[in-house]
Amino acid sequence: MTEIVALKNISKHFGTVIGVDNVSLTVEQGEFVTLLGPSGCGKSTLLRMIGGFEEPTQGGVVISGKDVTHLPPNKRPVNIVFQDYALFPHMSVGKNVGYGLRVGGMRRTEVAERASDALELVGLADRFDAKPHELSGGQRQRVALARAVVRQPKVLLLDEPLSALDANLREAMQVELKRLQRKVGLTFIMVTHDQTEALALSDRVIVMREGRVMQDGTPDVLYDRPSSSYVAGFIGTTNLFQGQVRGETLHALGHQLLVPKGLAPDGSMLTFGFRPEKAEILPLDAAAKGTLPATVTDILYHGNSARIVVDVSGVSLSIDQTIAGARHGSGLPEIGDRVQIAISPDRIMVLADEVAA
């Protein structure tokens, strides 16, 4: 594995507003890395600094061993797919894709050949002579991809590439994007605010907030071991509560839960959490240790599963129960039922949080 992009203590200020605040990260050759965060978290600015559309206020950008911090976009070995695709409306699809090849002084016939190869790669070989406005949203997206990939950049940047598509198309394009990345073996850096998209596509996800990196890890690490309640809340649903560990018991919500030894330092008040599908609802009379007595307050039916909202000592918790897997009785409890919930001890997450009092 070789390092292809390195951001070194990079910051971007817009007047008094801090867009990106001292971010350092590296991306390996062939990786699919996603910058994830809500709008205004600095993810797009970070991407634009890699592309050369913004100059960092501080820090440096190194692409494949070369410092490109002060180089304009046309001098960088990267290409970007814009959120609005930015296809040239006065040129045919083929001309759009070949646009970046003419620059190198390539012969007209070869440009056309390479452009049609690239269009073939995205399944649009027959739309070479069409104008961008004659294409559907998904097709435009693919032309934009072909136009960027055809230049064989060291890194492909994608700025919210799927956000302009409707839900069904988005899912199909996710599959296609992943397939394309595997086929061409390029390094992808994508920006998105959609956590499902990030988890589905990426080898590594970088969660950002207010210009800073909150967590950098593989999708499963982010899901199973989020470092903060912010990351836990941003990726999937998480039940959060405060508690205190003593040995192998966690004192929380007015009760005691079993936890693995050494989960957290003894005695300090911390934020803990668990995912809705990592707990189970048991009838009140079932014999079990370390469970929480609860009252069912809401049931949201999802087809193959149901989200059951319960109240434990005034804190609302969500628990997902697969319908087929409901072991006791007819399946789902009813609103108002007294139950107990069992959380798998090894699924309890400790969140390093500023809020812990």
Binding site: F53, A86, H90, G100
Partner: protein, 291 residues
Amino acid sequence: MTAGVVKRARLRQFLVLSPPLLWTVLFMFVPYAILVVYSFWRAQFPLAVPDFQFGNYIEIFTDPQYLNVLLRTAKIAGLVSLLSLLLAFPYAYFLVFKVRKPGLRLTLYMAVVAPLWVSYLLRAYTWKTILGTEGLLNSFLMSTGILSEPSSVFLYNQTAMIITLTYVFIPFMVMPIYAALEKIPPSLIEASGDLGEGALATLAKITIPLAMPGIVAGFTMTFCLSFGDFISPILVGGPDGLMIANVIAAQFGAALNWPLGSALALVMLVIVLGIITASDRFERLGQARLS
């Protein structure tokens, strides 16, 4: 009953439409019809006699002095449009792509457009005071020592007319180009850079082609407005600066040849309409290509 309702609706429609209709007929079609009629008459002391003959038109196209005036007018209008374009495009480009603060952008835009609210005559007259022998330019050149005595070369010639007309009509070039440039998504310019093109190539391949509708509209307006101008030749033009509108005015005045004046006016009208139609076609073609 139904017939009554229809009748009443028609009446209402007629009442709504009749004032503008009347206005148009009275002040547009009737004068034009009079011009058309007059253009076939024969000039004869004291004024003209009714006739139907093409003598006036033949005279326009055979007498070199009219053709010369037409060509000179076209040349001046063309140069004014070209100069306006060369000044307006960079300015509009700068406003749209380089000025980031919306307030500053609006201020700079209004700085060009606001003079439109000032009397045209006043704006043209300003240049007389700038370029004249006791004008601003001469005073400046003398105070810096470049000239030892005031020069009269700046005023009363075609250059002075081109400068004045450019100044007067440049807002009509800035406005449509600004509008066209503003419609170009910045990502297209960034995409061109991302795909390896430098700033100049991007300008030539992306920005200018996409701004073409605005450029054509601006060119058409400045050309037609300059083509029909007759104030600036009087104010700052010299003996070689007469334009077609001055010649027409003279036919209705001193020369007292209304039939020839009418024919000249119609020839000019046809030329201007021709240019507007051509530019309209071009724009439609461009729109079909883009949309």
